[in-house]
Each structure stands twice: as C-alpha cells, then as structure tokens.
C-alpha cells in the first residue's frame, strides 16, 4: 500500500523527453506578446512521471478493484470493449469541423444512439449535445421556458421533490426559476395534496425522479402529471435511475414530457474519477423544436447532416457535438446488450438490489419497507442512538474491509441514510461477502469505528482545516 507520494512539483528536477522533434528557429511573434520565462512547470523524466501517476492510482478505488454500491450512481462494470471502440482512429482523429462528408460514420453513431434512447424512453426526439446529466437538466428547463414563452406565457416557478438530487433545484435556479420543494408522503412518494397546494399558474414544471432516490417507483406519477398538465405545466423526468426501468416501462407513458439520461450511469461509460459523463435530453414532438441545436438528421438517401435550421432551439450547450467519445462507449454497450439484454439489465439490477436488501435488512432497517427497485435506503438512526455509530462511521469501516461505501446522507429526508445500489454486474458471492462485512462493521466497537479507516493511505481528514487554510495549489 502506497502512502506518501510527493507532488509533481516536489519530485526532483529531471529532463523531459522531446515530444516535438528539434528546437525550432525564431518564431516571429513580436516580443511584447512573449512570456518572460519558460512556464514554471516541473521538469521531470518520463519514468518519474509514469511512476508518480501509477503510484497515485494505487491510492484510488475503482469499480475495477472494489465493489462500489453507491446509490444513485449506478457503478456497473465499465466494459473494456467500450474503451477499444472509443480508441478507433475514426473516433480519435475525427475533427469536429471537417466537412460532413468526411464524418458520416461519427454522425451515424450519434444518430443510432439517439434512436436507441428514443425507443427506450418512448420519446420522439433525442439530443446528445449535453456534456453531463446536470447540463441536460439545465437544457431541459430552458426548453420548458421556451415552450411556455412560445405560448405567450411567463412562468417563474419549478417544483422539485424533497428526495430530488441537488442538481434539480440548482439547475432550475441557474435557469432563472424560483424553486419550491414538494414534501413527499409517509410512503416516500409524491404527495398529491402537497402537489396540489403548490400548483399555480406560475408553475412551469414539476421535476420528478422515477424510480425516486429511495429506490421506490413513483406510483402516483401519472396522476401527478395529469394535475400538472391541467395547471398548464410540464413534467420533467430525471432519468438518473433508468437502470431499473429499461424494457419494463417507458418514461413517455409515465406522463413525462421530457427527460434526461446519464450515459455514464445507465450505459456503462466509465466515471473517470468524476467525469467525463454525457447526457441526453429526450422529449415529445411538441417540445422537439426547443432541443439544443444542431441535431443530427438523416435524409431520404441515408446521408447524415447537422440540422442548424432550428429557430426555436434553446441554443447550444457544448461548443461542438457533445461528449462524442462517451457516446461511442454507450452505443458499444447498447449494441452488445441488445434490446433484450437491456431489459435483462434492468431486471437483474432490481433482483440484485432486492437480494442485497434482504441480507442487509437483517442488520439495519430500510427507510421504507417492502420491495425496492434497483436501489434502497437503509437508516442507521437507531444504531446511532444505541451505540453512537453513524452512517459516516459505517462508511469508513467498510473502506477498511475493502469495500467502497454506499452513498451516505442522501436523500435528505432519511436520517443517517445509506443508499445502496449493487447494479446488475455483481455476483451473488460479492453481495454476500459485502453483507458479511457490513454486519461486522455494525458490530464493531464504536470507539474503534470512530477512528476508521485505518488501512487507507490516510485516515479521516480534517475538512475544517482544509476549508480554513484554503491551500488549493502548490506554491514554490
């Protein structure tokens, strides 16, 4: 186990390799524009750089090395096949501004992926321009605004649920809407009375995640959607949890008008330590004119082009065509699974979650009883009261046992929450071993647990000191 690893800037000075090929002559740019000195970057040998980053990697946990039951993140296996497809020269070397005749293959990849997502969602049209889920939400809310404005209406409010992901209200606010939170009912799902009270002719949209972040199917969503539509608003589905629904139910039948997908969750593209992801916005024909421009279109001869002629479009979210390298990975996965395989993915995700829930319920109670879909939420509230062991303590104890911890303290409506999502790529043996370790951690001496983790390169870090010191970069 590697512990201390110096910063790049602390490694001893060396000589970098020549990746240019010869020292060039005078470059002819007037001196007033030229920097006084060589940039103050480290000068290191290639071996030192390679060794440094390899050693850093050993201080990380990934799906490749650890069971990663992070609720709401869908940490499924990232197939190496995807990586090989994204490394093909037609992907890697394609410049986004070449003449369209040169990039028909790339454009067909985008087209095909959009077609698959349209069929999975039941929606009419899909844009793959957003770089992430949060950017998709932003785009979708801009579309909602555009749709209202095209009907001569100005609506200023967006409703979110109290179980929503933080990006929902943040995206709404960034878009200029005020946000109101609708409290869920005692069963963890949308409360129609609360929704009715919140509806008005100033409500532009309701944002709903289904299945919600408790892992429960929002059974009253169709009624809620009807209420919102009657009040003149639109319904947006946060599709982060689509891993539970593929082939089983389609968001277009749930009353949603538009939604987003996270390609890096449902469609196995790697999380990369926090990105890059990719998002997709899917919508009804009514909302199609407002999608980000351009869209990939296909003519009668099967020839692809970028359709820029979209006067009602909200505009552009990314400078080029979205995270194409991520889109290729997602399509590679879809092609491997096939339509039937994607349905089996969702079925197995739900089976695995219920299997694991059954094992863990013997240790800690779930926040809401009964079957879950692809994820479930446990609460350590009683353990905190009886032994002083919190969700944080359990998470840190699991790290010592060789597991990445579940999501903790989310959703906000559950005290001492642990959100668990095994995904369909985990075997029975892995889940049983995890349950055993989980039980051991919960039975540990609380004092010992408060000092966990003890086998990582560092123990619990002083976050208060980090915020106060504000040392955000190395200085000579």
């Amino acid at each position: 186990m590697i512990h201390e690893e110096p910063l790049l800037f602390e490694l001893s000075h060396g000589q970098a390799e020549d990746y240019v090929g010869g020292v060039p002559a005078e470059q002819g740019i007037p001196a007033e524009f030229i920097r006084g000195e060589v940039p103050p970057l480290p000068e290191l040998s290639e071996l030192d750089v390679v060794r440094h980053f390899n050693r850093l990697s050993k201080k990380n946990a990934g799906v490749d090395t650890h069971f990663y039951p992070l609720g709401s993140c869908t940490m499924k296996y990232n197939p190496r096949f995807n990586e090989d497809m994204a490394a093909l020269p037609e992907v890697v070397q394609a410049h986004p501004l070449w003449d369209e005749s040169m990039t028909q293959g790339c454009m067909e990849i985008v087209w095909e992926t959009a077609r698959w997502l349209a069929e999975i969602s039941g929606f009419a049209r899909v844009s793959l321009q957003p770089a992430a889920g949060a950017q998709s939400e932003l785009g979708a809310l801009m579309m909602v605004r555009g749709w209202h404005e095209s009907r001569g209406r100005k609506r200023g409010k967006v409703l979110v649920t109290d179980t929503s992901h933080g990006t929902n209200p943040a995206s709404a606010a960034l878009c200029g809407f005020t946000v109101e939170t609708v409290a869920s009912g005692p069963d963890g799902c949308i409360d129609l009375k609360n929704l009715q009270a919140a509806l008005s002719d100033d409500v532009a949209a309701l944002m709903v995640t289904n299945p919600n972040t408790l892992g429960l199917f929002e059974g009253r969503m169709q009624e809620a959607a009807q209420m919102v539509h009657e009040a003149g608003g639109l319904v947006y589905l946060d599709g982060a949890n689509m891993n539970a629904l593929m082939g089983m139910a389609r968001p277009s039948s749930l009353g949603a008008d538009l939604m987003h997908f996270n390609l890096h969750k449902t469609f196995s593209t790697p999380h990369g330590g926090g990105g890059p992801g990719a998002g997709a916005i899917a919508c009804t024909a009514d909302l199609e004119p407002f999608l980000p421009a351009p869209l990939v279109a296909r003519d009668a001869f099967g020839h692809f082009h970028f359709d820029h002629n979209r006067p009602k479009s909200i505009g552009k979210l990314t400078a080029f065509h979205g995270n194409f390298g991520v889109i290729v990975r997602a399509l590679s996965y879809m092609v491997r699974c096939g339509g039937g395989g994607l349905r089996e993915v969702s079925e197995t995700a739900v089976i695995n979650a219920n299997f694991l829930r059954n094992l863990l319920e013997k240790i800690l109670p779930t926040a809401y009883s009964g079957a879950c879909l692809h994820e479930f939420v446990l609460t350590a509230k009683s353990l905190k009261q009886s032994k002083g062991i919190t969700a944080l303590d359990i998470a840190k104890g699991l790290l010592d046992k060789g597991y990445y911890a579940p999501t903790i303290y989310f959703p906000l409506i559950v005290e001492e929450a642990l959100m668990v999502e095994p995904t369909e790529t985990e075997s029975r043996g892995t889940m049983e071993a995890f349950a055993k370790a989980f039980a051991e951690v919960c039975a540990m001496d609380p004092e010992a647990l408060h000092s966990a983790p003890n086998t990582m390169p560092v123990g619990r870090l002083d976050e208060v000191k980090a915020a106060r010191d504000m040392n955000l970069r190395w200085k000579a």
Partner: protein, 451 residues
Amino acid sequence: MAYIPHTPEDTCAMLKSFGVQQTESLFSTLPDSVRLERYLDLPAGLSEPEAERTIRGILAKNQMPRLSFAGGGAYEHYIPSAVKSIISRGEFLTAYTPYQAEASQGSLQAFYEFQTVVCQLTGLDYANASLYDAGSALAEAVLMAWRVTNHPRVFVAPGLNPLYRRVLETYTSHAGVLLENLPERDGIADFSRVNWENTAAVVVQHPNYLGCLEQVEELAARAKSHGAMTIAVVNPVSLGLLKPPGDWGADIAVGDCQPLGLPLSFGGPYAGFMAVRAELVRKMPGRIVGVTVDKKGRRGFVLTLQAREQHIRREKASSNICSNQALCALAFTVCVALRGGRGLRDMASACAVRARKALERLLRIPGVKRVHNAPFFHEFVLELPFNASAICSDMARHDRIVPGVPLSRFGSARERELIVCATETKSLHDIDELVRGLAGSLGRLKTGGAK
C-alpha cells in the same frame, strides 16, 4: 446476455432465497397501465466480435483525410504514449467522484496538481478541478463577473470563437446579462470608443479564433480603470510561449484542455479550465481540491469549499455542475508533466514556426491573400479566389487533404475565407502537399467555373 454474472439457475436460487417465485413480482409497484407490453424494438444483443464488426462498420463510413490543417477550437497535437497508458488504469478510469476522500487520494492529488498546473500556466491565483469545456467555462465566468460586480453589460471581443459565443448566449439568455460586441479592426478588437458604464466584464480570446493576437494588456488596463473585469479565453499550448493572462491583467482565465493530452474525438469529451484572482475563489463554480492533514499528521487531499456546490446549496449553489471532466483533466496534467515547461515552450514555438512557413508558401499561390495583418500564433485567415467550402470539398475528394476550416462554418457570410492551422505535427513535406493540393484545387475550380 452481456455483463450479467448470473446463470438462470443462479437467478432462481437468489429469488427463492428471499421468498420470491418470479422476477415479475418485484415490479408489482409499476401500474399495469405503464408497463411496456412488447419488447423494445431494438436489435438483438451481439457477442463482442460481432459488436465490434457493427461499430467498425458504422465508423468505416467516415472518409478520413490523410492530412488536416483544421483548427477553430479543436487542435491536432501529438499525445505522448504515456498519457493513454496512465488514464486507462482501472483505478483512475473506473473511480467515482472522490467523496470518500480516504479511498480517492490518487484522484484528489491529481486534481490538486491539475489546479496548480493551470495556475502556473495562466499566472493566476486559483483554479478549479475542471468544467465541461471552454464554452461552458466562459459562460460560468461571465455569470460570475455579473454576480460579483452587479453590472449587466458584458463586452465581447469580435475574435471570440462563435461556437463559444453561442454557448455563452444560451447560458445567459434569461439572466440580466447584456452581451455587447466590440467593433473589429484587422481581425482584433477596436476598443478606442467604448462606453464602459455599468460594465461587468470584457471577454477577449487570445489568440482569437481568427488566429490573431489581441492588444490584451491595453484592453485589460482600460477595463480595470472603469471597474470592469477582464475574462481571457486562452489556448494552453500558446501559454508555453505567450505572456500569461495573470501577467497582462486578466481577472479570470478560461480555456480548453483539449490541445494538451486529449484527442480530437469529434468534439468531445474535452475539459474546460478556469483560473481566477484570489478574491474571486469563493465565487468559482465546480469542484475544488484542497490540502489538509489526518489525525496522524499525514498530508491528504479533500474536496473543499463544497458549501458552494449543488449537493449542499441546492438552489443557492453557485452553479449546477456535478460531474467535472476528471479523466480529461488527468490526461492534461500527465501531458503537461511529461512535456515540462521547456517542452511546452518548444511545442508552442514549433507551432508558430510551422504556421509561418505554411503562410509563406501558401501566399506564393496566385490569388491567395492573408486577410489580416495582426500578429498570429498558429492560425491565420486566407482569402481565396473561390468559395472556401467548395475548395474544401474538392480537396477532400481529390487529395484527401483538409486545408482548414471555412469561415462560413462559424456562420460568417465571408464565404471565400478559410482559417488555416498548422501545429507542430505538420512537417515541411506536409506543408508542401497542402500548397500543391490547394493550387491544384484552385486550378480545377477555375477551369470548372468559379463558384
């Protein structure tokens, strides 16, 4: 079935273990009315070799050129082999956002190094751990300046890449931000007659999308004297050679990591960087990594200043960003570490030298003129005797060479203008091929009738 670890017998046994007979019953909370009554109308699953044939079959429809001089915001540079090998390590590739800091010290330290390198290149005080791309980074910077100064007007220099401009407009369309254009003279901003009242900031790209170098020091000084911020949009390769924005008066610098360590990849994924003066750090969106210690005094890295972010502040967050472009930021850091400061300067110099060589030889072709006189980095605009798109199509067919990006691609009405970019990847032989190809194309179009 793909990536499912259980056999049908395993699945049966698992269900039985918690008293369920059929998978169906696990979906009983879904009303019948929403259940899909048919199978998805999508192709059947394929084995890995069959899937590879399918994907390769689609991509084979690309007509890849053998030589490209296209720039315009995405640049062809050599990526050292070690970059790919490091970012494909499973611990980096398949890790999640480093919320459990103790198990993510690798990623966190790498982000801290990224933040440092961005500061070293831009000459500013603090940087975040990356945003989606340059366009969205610019939009976030403008929104920051607007919030901090409380002024609505933002001047945009004419050399801002129109694609970034469109993203900026999309992000600021509803906010009270008023984007105003500075006039252009000889490819750069003319700020001699500007009314700076109520101005939050001026946005200037340097080098700009036409390749030209702007009068940045003067512009930033002028803005500052009127209480406005300067937001610089910069190319990180150019910073190997050019005076960095922190030195010439910028308050915020944004740009794209792509030219250092990221393949063209048909436009993404790239990564935006943002660096700011010290007093703006708390207003910066995105993830930020800081240094601290654990109980044993060991140095460690954590996500910090999180109270600004969406998962805590929700609707009061400084932005809605969740994912950054972590793996792309890592590729950038590795690439910069491998090249070093001198290597980066040599790389930038080589680009400038090759571009000048290309210009010199292209100007020998009758009818080819450079549009601007302003100094340039590695891109310049040529005026050609015929429609630039037509020339590009002709050269694609005839030589499989891309001579540049027509200005019309950016929405300009100047149809005979072409932006040519020559990076260190272009040899003198390549340049001669370009010249031969362009001359040949002009000849064909002349005899075939001017377009």
